[in-house]
C-alpha cells in the first residue's frame, strides 16, 4: 500500500498559498461551532481525579453506549464506540470480509475516498456501482453488480458527495441484496442530522442480521478532531468487532468521550435545527449562483456538499487549481471520487463565505 497524500490536502495547500483569500469549499469541517456541552464536558473532565484519566472500557463509556443504544433503539451490547466514524467503518467492513464468503466490496461511484482504500487495506476487492444520471444509487444496479463474491455493500446516506438521501425503498432493497448474497450492508450515516427531506431512513429500521450502521459525532457536534464515533452491529457480530477494536486501539480517547457525553445530555434539537437552517440558506444562495453561472448541479437533499458541472470545465485537479487562481474559490476535483462524476466539482458549504464564493463563480463563468 503506497501513501497518497489525499487530494483534498493538495487543493487546500494550493488554495492557502494563493495570493488572495480563497474561499475554502474543500474541507468538510463544520464552521458553526460545537455545542457548549463540548467545552463544558472538557472543563469538567479536566478537574476530575486521575483515575478518570485511565483506560475507559474498550467498547466505550457505558453511559455513552447507553445513550446511543436508546437513540438507535438497539441493545447496548450492539454498540461499539470507536475512534470516529473511520474506525466504525473499519470495524464494519472488516467484519463483513471476515464473516462472509466473498471478498468483493461494493461501493457507489462517486465514492467517499476512504472506502476504497479501506477495502483494499482489509483485503477486499473494490467494486464500484456508478450512480444514475440523477446522482442516485439505483438498487437494481447494485443487484446487477452483486454476486456470490460480494462480502460487503458500503453506502453513505445522506451522501457525500452527491447530497442524496436514500429513501426507505432503496434502503430496504439494499438490505435485501445483502441478505440474498450472504453479504453485509455497512450504512454510514454520519450526516443523519443533515437531512432536508424528512425522509432519511436508517438501515437500522430494517430488522436484519446483515446490517451494520456507523455514525459519529464529528459532523453533528462539529468536532471532527475529537474522533468519537460508533458502530451498531448485529448481536452475532458485535463481539468480533469489540475484539478488533480492542486489538487495534484498545479504547477510544476518554476526554473526547466525556465531552461528547456531556454534549449529548445538554444539547437540544434547536442546535441541530439551526445548523440545518443555516445550510438550507447556503444551499439556496449557492445553487442560485450556479444557475447564474450556467452550471449543472444537484440540489443536496442532505449532508453539506454540492456537486456542480460548469460548461467545458471538467472536474480535474488542473481545473480545480485554475478555479483557485482565477475565481478565488477552492472546490474538490470530481475525479477524487471516482469516474462517474469526474466532470464535476464538489463544493462544501461549511464556510460562512458561501455568498462570496457564489458572487465569484457568477463573475468567473459569465
Amino acid at each position: 500500500m503506497e501513501y497518497e497524500e489525499p487530494l483534498f490536502f493538495t487543493v487546500m495547500q494550493y488554495a492557502e498559498s494563493a495570493e488572495r483569500a480563497v474561499v475554502d469549499m474543500v474541507s468538510g469541517n463544520p464552521d458553526w461551532g460545537a455545542p457548549e456541552g463540548i467545552r463544558e464536558g472538557l472543563r469538567e473532565y479536566a478537574e476530575r481525579d486521575g483515575a478518570d484519566f485511565q483506560y475507559p472500557p474498550s467498547a466505550g463509556l457505558r453511559e455513552l453506549r447507553e445513550r446511543v443504544a436508546a437513540r438507535r433503539g438497539v441493545d447496548v451490547e450492539r454498540v461499539v464506540v470507536t475512534n470516529g466514524g473511520a474506525m466504525a467503518n473499519t470495524l464494519g467492513m472488516a467484519r463483513a470480509l471476515e464473516r462472509c464468503p466473498g471478498d468483493d466490496v461494493l461501493m457507489a461511484d462517486p465514492v467517499y475516498p476512504y472506502y476504497p482504500g479501506k477495502a483494499e487495506m482489509l483485503g477486499g476487492v473494490q467494486r464500484f456501482v456508478p450512480v444514475d444520471e440523477t446522482g442516485g444509487l439505483d438498487p437494481a444496479d447494485v443487484r446487477a453488480a452483486a454476486s456470490d463474491e460480494t462480502a460487503c455493500i458500503v453506502v453513505n446516506t445522506p451522501n457525500n458527495p452527491t447530497g442524496r438521501v436514500y429513501r426507505a425503498e432503496t434502503m430496504r432493497e439494499l438490505v435485501a441484496i445483502a441478505e440474498e448474497y450472504d453479504a453485509m450492508l455497512v450504512s454510514d450515516e454520519v450526516y443523519d442530522h443533515f437531512d432536508y427531506t424528512g425522509e432519511f431512513t436508517s438501515a437500522l429500521e430494517f430488522d436484519s442480521e446483515r446490517v451494520v450502521v456507523t455514525n459519529s459525532f464529528s459532523k453533528s457536534f462539529a468536532v471532527t478532531g475529537f474522533r468519537v464515533g460508533y458502530a451498531v452491529l448485529p448481536d452475532r457480530d458485535a463481539p468480533a468487532a469489540r475484539t478488533r477494536n480492542m486489538l487495534t486501539n484498545v479504547a477510544t480517547s476518554r476526554p473526547a468521550q466525556a465531552a461528547v457525553l456531556d454534549a449529548l445530555k445538554t444539547t437540544d434539537a434547536s442546535y441541530h435545527e439551526a445548523n440545518r437552517e443555516r445550510l438550507r440558506d447556503r444551499v439556496e444562495t449557492f445553487t442560485r449562483a450556479l444557475d447564474d453561472a450556467g452550471a449543472d448541479y444537484t440540489t443536496p437533499e442532505g449532508a453539506f456538499y454540492v456537486l456542480a458541472k460548469f460548461p467545458d470545465y471538467p472536474g480535474t485537479m488542473a481545473n480545480a487549481k485554475r478555479l483557485v487562481d482565477e475565481a478565488g474559490v477552492a472546490g474538490m476535483p470530481g475525479e477524487a471520487f471516482g469516474d462517474a462524476r469526474s466532470d464535476w466539482l464538489r463544493f462544501a458549504l461549511v464556510t460562512p463565505r458561501v455568498e462570496t464564493a457564489a458572487e465569484r463563480l457568477i463573475r468567473h463563468f459569465n
Copy 2:
C-alpha cells in the same frame, strides 16, 4: 476471530465483587496522577476556537511530532502519532507483515497478551520464544527461532510482565537478526521512563532500516485513557504507516494530543524521577514480602510488574481467584501471558496499597 473478554477483566471483576477491599494488583493504570500540564492543556484547549476542534493532521499535531522527533533524534517525517501504543504496534506489525516476505511474528513468552491477538488479526503466524530461566530473552533463542518465514520480531523493553530491561548487546543482536532474515524489529518501549538500571537501550540507537520503535504517553504521563502514542518508522516505511493510520482512524483525538503537548512542555524530569523513586520503594517493600512468603520472584529492572511464584501455587485463574478470596490480593494469572511463566502470578505495583498487599501475602503464605 472470536471475542475474548481479557483475563484481567475477569480477575478485576472477581476482585471487585469480593467482600473485603481487595488490593488490586492487576491493572496497569498508574495511580500517581498525571502532571499538571495535562489538566492545564485540557483547560486551555476547551477555550479555543471551534476551528481547533476540527481534524488535526492525520500523522499528529506538528509540534507534538517535532518534540517526539527531537527527543528520539530522528527526522519528524518518521514519526506517526497514534491512538495509544496499541495503534503504534498495529502499524509496526502491519508494516512488517506487508513489507517482509515471511508471515511469522516472533514474540517472547511470557508475552504482553495483545501482541499475539494483533499478529493474528493482521494475518501473521504466532511464534513464541520462551525466556530463559532468569526471565531474560536470549537473542540466541530468537536466532534459533528465526527463519525465512520471519516477518517481525516484537519485543517490549522494559518488559511487561518480566520486568527485564534489555541491554545494548541484546538489542543490537535483535536488530541484526531482523536484518539477516529480511524481517523487522518492533520494539515497544512504553516503559522507557521506568528504567531502574540506567542501561535501557532503545532500538533507535542502532541505525537500521529494519527497526520500528513504538511508545506512548499512557504510562509516562499516567493517562492510559487519553490514547496518545507514536511509532517511529524507517523513512521507507513511514508513508505506508501514515496511510494505514489514516485509513483506520483518520487521526488521533485532538484534545488528548493538545493535553499531552502541554504536558511535554511543562513537565520536568523531577516528575519522572519521583515516579521511579516511588516504584523503587514499592519494589523493595513487595520483594521483601515475597522473601518472607517463600516465593520465587524476579526483581524488576524496569516497568512496574513483579512476577512471583509461590510454593505449590501455580499461576492459574483458579489460584488467582483463590488469592483474592483468601489473601485479599488480586494478581494476574501467569497463564494469561503464555506457557513459560504459567506457574507464576504477576503483580502490578501501581497501587498505594503495596504495603497492605505485602502484609497479606506474608500472612497468607506462612
